[in-house]
């Protein structure tokens, strides 16, 4: 790994560099939390040594870093390589809080801050920046022993968020939604419940599948591609946000096959996203648009260089805000760039695109590592997406890094949620294409996850994207460029693609992307050939890993969630647990290549169940998966898996996942079955988001459907995701659907 810093970076041998030990362990949950992959960042060598020893004694896998920049790059390279990060507050090269933000945005990993400073304000700062815990130095081993709880908690939260996405978010939003129609209200209230009902048609078959999966919604999802989203935003702006009701938006958009429910759920997410934007540090409304779809433009261009990144690029292209690109370009490998992303990204990312962006950025960074297959894939994509996206990107492309700051949670969140949103095609959508969302979902998921965390996610996303990109690339490009993903509408495909990419990337890297990166689903439907990953992902992978990020992030994730999660899951699997989440499960399952889509779906639903239940399992799985895939293949496999989600078609799955290289995923091959398989193992992790983004799953795909529309009525994507999972019917079991505040995303 390249350590940027010259500081003493000790890579513990135990830390798995790519090969997951979990696999060795057989992915057994009983070993949990042993094997938890911890990254420790502290510039004090004495403390670092002590912490390392403590962690080792707890049977964790430790990687040490004495420089924050090195840590970030390591995280980005191995998106899925870590489950939790311990970081000191005061570091010479980068403020610990900044690092915290980065990680939160890009990788959505739980981060524990440490410091000898026990002043209340500092501790408070840690909390507000999203640390899941704050340890006072000197750290005692008892405190170290317990850190695994944060990983579990985060995953659970993420899943919950998905389920409850939107439900808790805004009461007024709900009100609005109700105005929109019964759909909304039902969506809001029992959205997670409703979907199930609504999915009658698919329920039977799904249920059976779902059972295994438990959180997948089988309805086809709508993939909110960049174009679609732009149309949506245009319509909303025409109506003025306050007056924007799904019905009118739908009319204005006049997109055939789009239902009011799709729009409603997407709107919910969008509102959530806006809220987030205005919340943390941004102004209301305005920027969101820009960022919302903004990402799309840049990514395409710049992404070019990464392989895995491609995926992201793709994802991004549609979805990533310009700054992603910037980051991507700039960043490649540098944290600094990521930082840049932060600000602008935040905005954008939050939006669906963010996912993409993040993916991009991460991808870009990943590029270095990944084979740089470049962006061709993306390039292709942008073409189709760019123009539209550009329209919305008014925001300057800021380096990702800023994002962290601003976005904090909001933006990224949105992005994350957006992932689910794209998926919105609640199943019913006739967009056949959308079904392939899964792919995008992952991305979206990733994106979403990333969203909350500043900048950092970019590289990570990129990485993940890369992975997925590679695979997707081949496919997506073809599809996307053509404007029509095989079977997937371009937007969707884009999304999917992004998702996938994201997913993949995530998966690949350990998916930090979980929520974040993939979120990009919004724009780039990374449709890898059949993935409509976007839609499906949500539940899947993402959540697990990124856990909550995805969910939290919300929008993008949600949109993509459907896909991304799936995608991600797939990806994750390969990548080994995105974002280091234990969720690792998500990744592992990423069925190799085969039906990514399917995977997503499965994942979503499954994830939820699994997640909770199998956190450890997932953990292991991821690890396991990671080892299996760890590389580029992952990307492809992820894609493949993604395809699983919906597209399951075996043939399709192949997609193109990057040339199907890695796609070995036989597991994913069978149309829904594969995905399930994959998901199963991994889903748990990934799915936790249970983004049930309702992506339209192709007929083959068992789109878990993230019935976005149904469920996503709630603003929060996450909740949508959750709902979706629920929709699947399975989800509920695991995740308590109790209303979970959407914004619960870890700050």
């Amino acid at each position: 790994m390249d350590m940027d810093s010259g500081g003493a970076v000790a890579l513990s041998t135990t830390s798995s560099t790519g090969s997951r030990k979990v696999g060795d362990r057989g992915g057994v949950s009983d070993q949990f939390p042993a094997g938890l992959r911890v990254l420790v960042v502290d510039d004090d060598p004495t403390c670092l040594m002590i912490l390392e020893k403590m962690l080792r004694n707890c049977l964790y896998e430790v990687t040490t870093c004495s420089r924050a920049a090195a840590a970030l790059s390591m995280l980005r390279k191995r998106r899925d390589g870590f489950d939790i990060v311990l970081s000191d507050v005061y570091m010479p090269d980068m403020d610990g809080f900044k690092l915290l933000e980065h990680i939160g945005l890009e990788m959505d990993l739980p981060v524990i801050m440490m410091s000898a400073d026990d002043g209340k304000d500092v501790v408070m700062k840690g909390i507000t920046h999203g640390a899941c815990d704050y340890l006072i130095k000197p750290v005692r081993i008892e405190a170290i022993k317990n850190i695994w709880q944060h990983v579990v908690r985060k995953r659970r939260n993420e899943l919950k968020e998905i389920e409850h996405s939107g439900s808790v978010e805004d009461s007024d939003r709900q009100r609005r939604i109700s105005d929109d129609g019964d759909y909304a209200s039902s969506a809001i209230e029992g959205s997670w419940r409703n979907p199930k009902r609504r999915k009658d048609e698919k329920d039977e078959e799904d249920e059976i599948e779902d059972r295994e999966d438990s959180s997948t919604m089988k309805k086809p999802r709508v993939v909110w591609s960049v174009e679609l989203h732009q149309q949506f935003v245009t319509a909303v702006n025409q109506l003025s946000l306050d007056k924007a009701v799904p019905k009118k938006i739908l009319e204005l958009m006049s997109v055939p096959g789009l239902t009011r429910e799709n729009v409603a759920s997407h709107l919910q997410k969008y509102r959530l996203y806006l809220r987030r934007l205005s919340g943390p540090s941004q102004h209301q409304g305005g920027p969101p648009n820009a960022s919302f779809m903004g990402t799309a433009e840049e990514p395409f261009g710049s992404i070019g260089s990464f392989d895995g990144l491609d995926l992201q690029a793709l994802a991004v292209s549609g979805q990533l805000p310009p700054h992603n690109l910037t980051t991507v370009q700039a960043g490649i490998g540098r944290t600094a760039s990521n930082t840049g992303m932060g600000t602008s990204l935040s905005h954008q990312i939050n939006m669906f695109n963010s996912n993409v962006q993040i993916a991009n950025s991460s991808k870009i960074r990943c590029e270095q590592e990944l084979n740089n297959k470049p962006m061709n894939l993306l390039h292709g994509l942008p073409t189709s997406i760019e123009p539209k996206q550009l329209a919305h990107f008014n925001r300057p492309v800021h380096p990702f890094g800023n994002m962290g700051r601003q976005v904090g949670e909001g933006n990224l969140g949105f992005l994350n949620s957006s992932s689910s949103i794209p998926l919105v095609s609640t199943g019913s959508s006739t967009h056949g294409d959308v079904r392939h969302c899964p792919r995008s979902s992952p991305l979206m998921m990733q994106m979403s996850q990333q969203r909350t965390q500043p900048a950092i996610s970019q590289p990570q996303m990129q990485m993940q994207l890369d992975a997925s990109m590679q695979q997707l690339r081949g496919q997506l490009l073809n599809e996307m460029v053509g404007g029509r993903v095989s079977g997937l509408p371009l937007p969707i495909s884009q999304q999917m693609l992004s998702n996938e990419i994201a997913g993949q990337v995530l998966g690949r890297n350990g998916a930090v992307m979980n929520g974040r990166g993939i979120a990009s689903s919004g724009g780039a439907s990374i449709n890898s050939p059949s993935y409509v990953a976007v839609s499906q992902a949500p539940s899947v992978d993402f959540p697990i890993r990124n856990g909550t990020e995805l969910l939290a992030s919300g929008f993008s994730t949600a949109a993509t969630a459907g896909l991304p999660s799936m995608a991600l899951t797939g990806m994750f699997q390969e990548a080994t647990t995105v974002t280091g989440s234990l969720e690792g499960l998500n990744n592992p399952t990423i069925a190799k290549g085969s039906s990514y889509h399917l995977f997503n779906e499965l994942r979503s639903s499954k994830t939820q169940d699994w997640e909770l239940q199998n956190i450890s399992h997932a953990y292991n799985l991821n690890r396991h998966m990671n080892s299996t895939r760890t590389n580029t293949d992952f990307g492809s496999s992820v894609l493949g898996h993604q395809g699983l989600g919906g597209i399951q078609k075996n043939g399709q799955n192949r997609y193109e996942c990057a040339g199907g290289k890695g796609m070995d995923a036989p597991s994913g091959q069978d149309e829904n079955g594969n995905l399930e398989m994959i998901m199963r193992g991994q889903n748990n992790l990934a799915v936790d988001n249970s983004f049930r983004v309702k992506a339209e799953c192709g007929p083959n795909m068992r789109c878990e459907n993230m019935l976005l529309t149904d469920q996503f009525i709630q603003d929060d994507l996450m909740s949508v995701l959750f709902k979706q999972q629920e929709g699947v019917g399975l989800v509920e079991t695991d995740f308590n659907l109790d209303t979970y505040p959407v914004d619960n995303i870890q700050v």
Binding site: D43, D44, P45, T46, C47, M49, I50, K53, M54, N57, D88, Y90, S115, A116, D117, K137, P138, V139, R140, I141
Partner: protein, 153 residues
């Protein structure tokens, strides 16, 4: 080495350690380190302590340079000391840690004289601790690992 000698060495080491605790040079954190030591890292504590003293020498040098500048850059000094405090506390160097806290308080008050005075104290405590621990570990090394303690050679 005869086991009697070994026992003697160990006893001496134990005595040093006990007095360090009693006099407040070390605190419970040091015990934590000892607990971490195991077969895979039989000299863990010594390694950590050695690393600490090597690193802290740099800290002290930095602070030394900083206090000689006038006017005193309290912010910088505070930052240095914060780090040093964290480091010291991680090995259980209680006295040193307490002095660091005091130093930081003076920094926050802008009390240059207090800072200087405290810094001298820090150096003193640091040096004393270092010396004692060096002796301590030396005795332990001489005594050899526990496994061989009983074997007479």
């Amino acid at each position: 080495m005869a086991s009697a000698e070994i026992t003697q060495l160990r006893r001496q080491a134990a005595y040093i350690k006990k007095s360090l605790f009693e006099q407040g040079y070390l605190d419970g954190q040091f015990l934590q380190l000892e607990e971490l030591q195991d077969d895979t890292n039989p000299n863990f504590v010594e390694e950590v302590v050695t690393l600490f003293f090597k690193d802290s020498a740099k800290f002290i040098a930095n602070i030394e340079a900083a206090v000689e500048k006038t006017p005193l850059d309290f912010k910088k000094l505070d930052a240095y000391m914060h780090k040093f405090k964290g480091s010291s506390s991680s090995i259980g160097a209680l006295r040193v840690k307490n002095e660091c806290t005091l130093f930081r308080e003076y920094c926050q008050q802008g009390n240059g004289e207090g800072c200087l005075k405290t810094f001298q104290q820090i150096k003193k405590e640091h040096a004393t601790l270092r010396k004692k621990l060096e002796t301590y570990f030396q005795l332990l090394r001489q005594a050899g690992p526990y496994e061989t303690a009983t074997s007479s050679h």
